[in-house]
Symmetry: C2
Amino acid sequence: MATQREKAARLRQLHDGPRLLVLPNAWDVASAKVIAAAGAHAIATSSAGVAFALGFPDGQRISRTEMLGMVRRIAGAVEVPVSADVEAGYGPTADAAGQTARGVVEAGAVGMNLEDSLEAGELVPLELQVSRIQAARAAAAAAGVSLVINARTDAFAARGLAADARIVEAVRRANAYLGAGADCAFVPFVSDREAIGRLAREIRGPLNVLAKPGSPPLAELERLGVRRVSVGSAIALAAYGRARRSAVELLGSGTYQALEDAIPYAEMQKLLGQA
Amino acid sequence: MATQREKAARLRQLHDGPRLLVLPNAWDVASAKVIAAAGAHAIATSSAGVAFALGFPDGQRISRTEMLGMVRRIAGAVEVPVSADVEAGYGPTADAAGQTARGVVEAGAVGMNLEDSLEAGELVPLELQVSRIQAARAAAAAAGVSLVINARTDAFAARGLAADARIVEAVRRANAYLGAGADCAFVPFVSDREAIGRLAREIRGPLNVLAKPGSPPLAELERLGVRRVSVGSAIALAAYGRARRSAVELLGSGTYQALEDAIPYAEMQKLLGQA
């Protein structure tokens, strides 16, 4: 078993190329096991997916404790490094961000996302977000692990910014966050090729974008200079989509077609470590 | 909001026909919300699904507390009655079964499954299982709710019983369990039409069977006299199958086809009660 420090180093190194780091996000232990078995080099969690599974809408309605509870289960179940999506750190202050980072380390994860919007459409002042990243870095170091910090800017979802201003703001914030000690800059909500290429050129560190149906394929994102791609809650929503289709079919025609193409029970038992 | 007693009465009534009670099993809150929104009249949990999501193989490796924790989340999130799959009651004794029944009531569910095998292939002595059912019934009554007890017999998975002996044993046990106060007899692992028809005729109460791809369609099960159908972990395994397909595609061709046909994010937010 690799130590937590070794896993942090391994996750950090996966941002250095030459290949794109692809993170198919998990939301519970079974999904993490399945995604790891599919060959993922690391597991990133989806905060929305975890929230949905445990009964909350996305957007910091779940508590830090409950979110980290699922992160702990996942990190304890897979051998690959785990990066925790902990939204905006469950509190507006630098202290809250530090406390969350310490919790991420204690949960056994080796990376974390930290967002710069506490409310949809509103960006935290840049200086405050810089201090929140520094606090997360310091708290993790004090806890003994150099967490891989993926600093997210929601500039592309900010109210009152024109398209061009969004790119400028995303670059400005990404570079400030990298300067404050973040390892990677996460700019979601952009799928335009030209914009992504410009972000990759102007951001002075690894760039993470969010991919979804309609985004350029991963090979193209790699050519554009992206270093890390995640998919947020997309896999969870696809899985629950399959659950819905199964239920609708059972309750409607009373047949079982949507239940085919499942993971066999015996295989899932083995994945979960049946003796 | 219906009270817990009203929900228990409603669930019990759903066994009286004229239509088959179809229970597409859920394993977390999001799946329960999706299945309820698809029109299910009640939600049954899948103990295997819950175990997988939280990091355990199926078969009482998860604790009673953790299993009931997820049941509580689900029961608190849907308006329809919830029946909890609590395996063999997390202990071999009548006391354990009673304690589990009390926990099911406290978690807000109004029904429970109780299995008669503690180890794969081994049936609990009939008299002991009868006393376990009586203990569950009494504990629930003491807690103020007339739980709908779905007594499961694993006669069809018992080692050392020939096919014909299995039917005889399933009928003998089902009738003893119904006589002891169970509301419904659950006989899984049988999909042969003739055997199901015979079970429905010879069991003196509602019959629950487990359906899966390859089983007779629900309309036919209804004609055979089945009153309740559930699918165990099949929907969870289909959902995780979709997660696997998504991950394999992302890590392979780097495209997003398996992510289509997902539940839209905004719709899931609404299902989870976003303000």
